[in-house]
Amino acid sequence: MMRRILGQLANPQLLALAGVLLINWLLFPNFFRITWQDGRLFGSLIDVLNRGAPVAILAIGMVGVIATKGVDLSVGAVMAMAGAVAATLVVAGYPAPIAVAAALTVGLLCGLWNGFLVAVLDIQPIVATLVLMVAGRGIAQLITQGFIVTFNDPVLIFIGTGSFLGLPMAAVIAIVLLVIVTLLVRKTALGLFIEAVGVNRAAASLAGIRSRMLLLYVYGLSGLCAAIAGIIVAGDIRGADANNAGLWLELDAILAVVIGGTSLLGGRFSVPLAVVGAIIIQAMNTGILVSGFPPEFNLIVKAGLIFLVLIIQSPLAGRLFPARLRPVQEARK
């Protein structure tokens, strides 16, 4: 038992996270300092959680999609749409719960639309979701008419910037989602079915798995997660910025999932590790910020990180490292 837990801790994702945090600490000695202030925790690590939350939430939705051998490129655009819907509704005088519900519904519908294209019309996921990726942001702009729709609704603002038990609300939402989704896939057979569909959809159908419904759910969840992230991001800046909200975040989310060890070819997946992936990305972003690096280098550092993580995960490294450093599944034997 102990060995198994140790084995799990020694996986490349957590090692990478530790590495990034260590570098941050070297560059910025106060990185781990956390203080209590105005009823909330305050510090760079908390920022990592808070800022990483939207991508983590996207990754929670994305990981299921990727496990079914799909990908959802539309999440960034769906974030923009959800934010736009929530903001325009509260500005038009609707109560916040209705605005939030409407935004979530829009996200869910977008997800189901993607699921419909993938599951029913059998369109390759990249293309299917490319449609909403392109059109979705346009629709979001149509809703806001291109303006940043600002609001002062306390509920939305709380979702974006409030805190609960000292933790930023965004991080709390991400953690709750992580727990719910992890339980949902691991305590039921959903996870197994998702993996089965990802590995061999034809065989899954013949084995009595309703792969169409499953894909609909999975994409629906991804859309829902995107909407949640969209509301958080809008609440954070007290405004819906259809142009920039979630821009290119789909790539970060996919990256997070891949860093989390889920193959883009579908199959085995892990929700917690995808979230770890999101945190790694954010830890690096925050590290660049606090260490005072010139901004021109941001992208290069990011590219470097990707290669680093990929090299650690690749089969090549498997041969160089002792077996116990390799991913969990193999090490378990």
Partner: protein, 505 residues
């Protein structure tokens, strides 16, 4: 053992996958002008050995020699340069490209540096003609049946084999005539001095063409002998490492009373797939389905299971009309289906053996009543043992198992759901004698336990052995239903061949 006139030789090959030794110090020599059969149970290491000979795998230790000289075969391309042509076990061509391109990929004729398509297609036509295939070389390979694809694969390998031709179960999806033609070509090539490796599970075929035989068991080479020196029983004994009585069953068609009707298909059919057929299936009987390749047996099975929806007729289950429009409908009534194409439709390659076994049961239970790990282990362990599934661990990915063991896993998957009706499409294809007997025994046992079974098989002896009735398919139509004394190969062949010139053998 060292023999200078070996055209191709493997010496001291050890191949380890993870912690599984697939080949253990194997020597294998191939002379020019011989047909050398390579035999062994499923998972004995035959395919692995030839993959090493052809550069698809690298040996952990050991050497490959051509004409007595050590050579490095780092990839299949180099093997081709050494004049080795190979048909791998699965049809491994490119369904998205034309037939001609599949034949010539890698060595297309060129003019001014560009591929000369006209010449390529002309040459292809000539080549295919030798195999009795009259198809448009420019057509997409994927549009043709598995059998045609198999022949194209063989033709390609023959074209590439300047010196050595390797055939890993090439006959699995061919009919008698096609097999005969393949043998002619093999003999012809042998006469021209080629060295040929032939892997199959059909002992008849081995004795029909091969000169020598090498037998592998559990990754070890057991024997290499001239075929003249051995008998069938010797071979089987060597393969299994023990004596087995041939289950050369002559049919248990004693007039056992049939159970009550479980399923009743009435004018059941699907346009452009299967003509409407009428068939009732009783509890405790095996209905065998015979027919030539492409006669629509698989399609019939698929609509019975709801994998394709029927658009005509009706079906009654236990006397009541039901709708079976999708596999879940069928499964909820206790159906099970082992598909013909194991790799594409049967196994979940990356999932564990355990998950592969429990998945249908779990599908039936639904998401919320998930089996926990221990329950899964118990179920998988039970069937693993009952079916004698040989896997290092139930947690290893099923894709690492040999074909026969994969088939047993899929059968276990359905048995775990406690089915009332099983459809088995070619359950014994590409399976060794031991596993074969195992599966036939299982079929018999299930029937005796009161299950209804539909079994599709191309091996007439086998169908005859366990079927209570036999349905014959031809041109996507059910043309005969045989029972009682009619259940013998002769009658079946008659029924298949009826109105067709010269197919009866």
């Amino acid at each position: 053992m060292v023999d200078a006139d070996y055209a191709l030789e493997a010496r001291g090959i050890i191949k380890v996958f993870g912690n599984h030794v697939a080949l253990d110090n194997v020597d294998f020599g191939l002379r020019a002008g011989e047909i050398h059969a390579l035999l062994g149970e499923n998972g004995a290491g035959k395919s692995t050995l030839i993959k090493i000979l052809t550069g698809a795998y690298q040996p952990t230790t050991g050497q490959v020699l051509a004409d007595g000289v050590p050579v490095a075969v780092d990839n299949p391309q180099q093997a081709q340069k050494h004049g080795i042509g190979t048909v791998y076990q699965e049809v491994n061509l490119l369904p998205n490209r034309s037939v001609a391109e599949n034949l010539f990929l890698g060595h297309q004729p060129t003019r001014f540096g560009l591929v000369d398509r006209r010449k390529m297609e002309r040459d292809s036509r000539d080549i295919l003609e030798r195999y009795g295939l009259d198809i448009d070389p420019a057509s997409e390979l994927g549009a043709h049946s598995v059998a045609v694809q198999q022949i194209v694969a063989i033709a390609r390998a023959v074209e590439l084999s300047g010196k050595v031709l390797i055939l890993d179960e090439p006959t699995a999806s061919l009919d008698r005539n096609e097999v005969e033609r393949l043998f002619e070509i093999m003999r012809d090539l042998r006469a021209k001095g080629l060295a040929i490796v032939f892997i199959t599970h059909f002992l008849d075929q081995v004795f029909a063409v091969a000169d020598r035989v090498t037998i592998l068991r559990n990754g070890k080479r057991i024997e290499t002998r001239a075929l003249d020196d051995v008998t069938r029983t010797d071979v089987v004994r060597l393969m299994l490492g023990k004596d087995v009585a041939f289950s050369g069953a002559t049919g248990v068609q004693d007039a056992r009373p049939l159970g009550e009707v479980l399923l009743d298909f009435r004018n059941y059919g699907r346009k452009r797939s299967v003509h409407p057929f009428t068939l009732s299936i009783h509890k405790g009987e095996v209905v065998g389905v015979a027919g030539l390749l492409g006669s629509g047996r698989t399609e019939m099975a698929r609509i019975m299971f709801g994998a394709d929806a029927a658009d005509e007729g009706e079906v009654h289950f236990e006397g009541k009309p039901v709708s079976i429009a999708r596999p879940t409908d069928a499964i909820s009534k206790g159906f099970g289906f082992c598909p013909e194409d194991r790799k594409a439709e049967g196994i979940f390659g990356d999932l564990s053996v355990r998950e592969n076994i429990i998945i249908a049961l779990q599908g039936k239970l639904g998401w919320f009543s998930a089996l926990n790990r221990d329950e899964q282990m118990e179920i998988a362990g039970k069937f693993g043992e009952a079916m004698d599934i040989r896997a290092a661990s139930l947690d290893m990915p099923i894709k690492l198992l040999s074909g026969g063991n994969q088939q047993k896993v899929i059968l276990s998957r359905w048995l775990a759901t406690d089915p009332a009706f099983l459809i088995l499409d070619e359950p014994t294809r590409g399976i060794d004698v031991g596993a074969h007997a195992e599966i036939v025994r299982t079929i018999n046992r299930l029937r005796d336990e009161g299950l209804a079974l539909v079994v599709i098989s191309s091996e007439l002896d086998e169908v005859v052995a366990y079927s209570s009735r036999i349905v014959v398919m031809r041109d996507r139509e059910m043309v005969a239903e045989l029972s009682g004394k009619d259940i013998n190969p002769g009658v079946i062949v008659q029924a298949i061949a009826n109105h067709k010139e010269g197919t009866a053998s």
